[in-house]
Amino acid sequence: MSLLHIKDLRLGFKTLAGQVDVLHGIDLDIAAGEKIALVGESGSGKSVTARIVLGLLQETRTARINGTVQFDGQDINSMSARDRATLRGTEMSIIFQDPTSSLNPMFTIGNQFTEVLRRRDPKLSKADSHVRATTLLDEVAIPDPARVLRAYPFQLSGGMNQRVMIAMALANKPKLLLADEPGTALDVSVQAQTLTLMRDMVVQNGTSVLFISHNLGVVREFADRIYVIYRGNIVEDGPTDALFANPQHAYTRALMSAVPRITGVGIPEVPEVSDDFLAPRISHGDAL
Amino acid sequence: MIRTLRILAANPLSLLGLTLVILITLAAIFAPWIAPFPTHNGAVVDFLNNNRPPSSHNWMGTDLVGRDIFSRILFAYQISLTLGVVVLAIAVPIGTMIGLLAGYIGGWLEMVLMRIVDVFLSIPPLVLAIAMMGVLEPTLTNAMLAVTAMWWPWYARLVYSIARGEREEGYVLAAEVIGAGAGHIAFREILPNCLPAIITKMTLDMGFVIIIASSLSFLGLGVQPPTADLGSMVAEGARYLPDSWWLTVFPGLAILVAVFGFNLLGDGLRDVLGVDE
């Protein structure tokens, strides 16, 4: 049974001008320990999908959500807001694009760790939390954890903050980690290191990952399976190797050919929009 | 514009504000025609009918010399709104210009201008107005002058803080690289981005100007009798409370309604225009 099972997920927003439909029936599954990438451009609906999984969009008055979103056997959409909130930070966590602005500038890293750890263990003492946080920071290869715990986010580099975020996100050993364009705000070499670290940690902990990105290259090195999303529809999905070796949907092919190559083959003429992109979904089946 | 009105109308509070402001404005404009006793704005006496409580003949009663209070309130609105409009029409451009130049050009100009602004802001507004009126003759014109003098610095500071932020934006850099002059950048690029905040503040300020003006005339420093003015009407009737309550309560309510209306409208505009201070 999947850890995360999304079936026919539809999302619309009620506006003054009527209902605007954003997701038109998303199907997506993540098994325990699997690393899944959801790849799409801006406006594709990838970020709102993550918010629905986290249970954040259900409380928005103008949001109309239909379909099944099951996490660990429980239906997210029909849960109470409080139950959804309990899952966040414990069974499910998220890391964001810009680490420095996602951390609270008013509190030290140590304080923020305490807050995170207390989600699982409300009676945790500050001393114990310090010890646990130090261990976690060690795991993300941060030298001198004591100094980092005393520091404020603005005093640390982007790369350091990203590692802190990863450590915090995995602190409570969640079953599912969502990563929304992680590392895009970082330099390329730092991003590469950070993603390698993230991959190692999730594999070590057996955490499932939903990795949201627009960058095919980054995704190729991280994910086991990929879902390509275009304008609120999944257009192609399959194991990473199969998808990259043989992309079939017109949109996936356009995306792949448009990524600049260091082999210098030039920039191809690809359309920004095309009716071919609206072709039905192609599924590459399961990995071996 | 239409879209702004539609969004305003969707919110009950700002709709109320808009309605009140429209009613007051119409009342002020059409006072000579809708007032039951249009002549009562001036030096009219009717001692047979004086100090009467509200009745079907005089909806808000009559004052000490027999004039209809309702009619006088309508004419008083003319004074209040005129004062508000004139004060803002002078204070806003002056304050905006100073704030804009100080904010964009910076350097010693910024220092000099903002210190002048600080000096004005450090004097309690009413005190400044009273001091000026002590020197000048108490007329409507001089009252407007006094209130204007204390009003422009607030706009200077508001526009200054916005301009300082906007000058770091990409579009300002783009204009600088293209070679546009400081005048163009300040007035054609930055100023339009200050307008939502300025307009919102102007609407809220109408209410405050009315209060300040009423305070001045309450102290006898504003418009002189026999012209109808909300503040002096409140002052006249104050010593007859609580017996002849209508002498004070109705003009007081009239001030309240005006301020309330403009405040609600201003708050609504702030939401619509997306202004955060």
């Binding site: 290259g217 030039g266 920039i267 | 850099l173 690289v177 070679g179 339009p192």
Partner: protein, 265 residues
């Protein structure tokens, strides 16, 4: 011929924690008609160099010569005209309270290009040249997509009739399909108008496909300068190899190349 020459260009910032050497003794020439990529990570000094070239930041020492004329940060509008900028952020680089036509028209008005009565027509032609319908000129930036806004920025820069275009991460904020179209547009425009580009970016894969030469910067210093094909076949500096090694790759051929070039890092 050399269009832009940087000679010993240095910029040091005095901060409360001591001097920061943002740019140290940089010398290079930009040839007319070429696309020179300036590559580096944060702290490399690439933005500081761009700001000095554009005349919005004064150099601490060193010289900038454009068309053999020395330029300082205090330059006349006439001197500004021929060096224009396309910024990274499509949204903030356009005035939200002005129509895109008004933004594009600015250069025409500042430099009195063409007759006043014909300027709106010229604006429409400028939008057309970047692939946007001319009748869009009354639209506000907020109603446009990121790619469209970036095209407007390009049109605005070209309206001044420049010779050198500084492009500061022009496609970094764009989706991959949109980026491809904008890069193609930039290539076309360069060929058509005989422009020279200084293309600043952190994205080496883009560099490989648009630049003639590459200048690699680290901590304010020029680390390597060479023809693109040479940098991507036999990079000399260890830092260059490190940067190449970190590029996310999409196909097997790239993977092989990357592994080969990043060897020994």
């Amino acid at each position: 011929m050399t269009l832009l020459a940087l000679n010993g260009l240095t910029k040091t910032f005095e901060t409360p924690t001591g001097p920061v050497h943002a740019v140290s003794d940089v010398s290079l020439n930009v040839q007319a008609g070429e696309c020179l990529a300036i590559v580096g990570e944060s702290g490399s000094g690439k933005t500081t160099i761009a700001n000095m070239i554009l005349g919005i930041l004064a150099a601490t020492s060193g010289e900038i010569a454009f068309d053999r004329q020395t330029l300082s940060a205090k330059r006349s509008a006439k001197q500004r005209r021929r060096i224009q900028l396309v910024q990274q952020n499509p949204l903030t680089s356009l005035n939200p309270k002005r129509s895109i036509g008004a933004s594009v028209r600015l250069g025409l008005d500042v430099y009195d290009i063409g007759k006043k009565s014909g300027r709106w027509t010229a604006v429409e032609a400028a939008l057309d040249a970047v692939g946007l319908p001319g009748n869009m000129r009354t639209r506000a930036p907020a109603s446009l997509s990121g790619g469209q806004r970036q095209r407007v920025s390009i049109a605005r820069a070209l309206a001044c009739d420049p010779r050198l275009l500084v492009l500061d991460e022009p496609t970094s904020a764009l989706d991959v399909l949109v980026q491809a179209r904008v890069l193609l547009l930039l290539n076309d425009l360069r060929a058509k108008h005989g422009l020279t580009y200084i293309f600043i970016t952190h994205d080496l894969a883009v560099v490989r496909n648009v630049a003639d030469r590459v200048a690699v910067f680290q901590s304010g210093q020029l680390v390597e300068l060479g023809e693109t094909s040479q940098i991507f076949s036999a990079p000399k500096a260890a830092y260059t190899r490190q940067l190449i090694g970190a590029v996310p790759v999409v196909d097997a051929a790239e993977l092989n190349l990357r592994n080969k070039l990043a060897e020994g890092v």
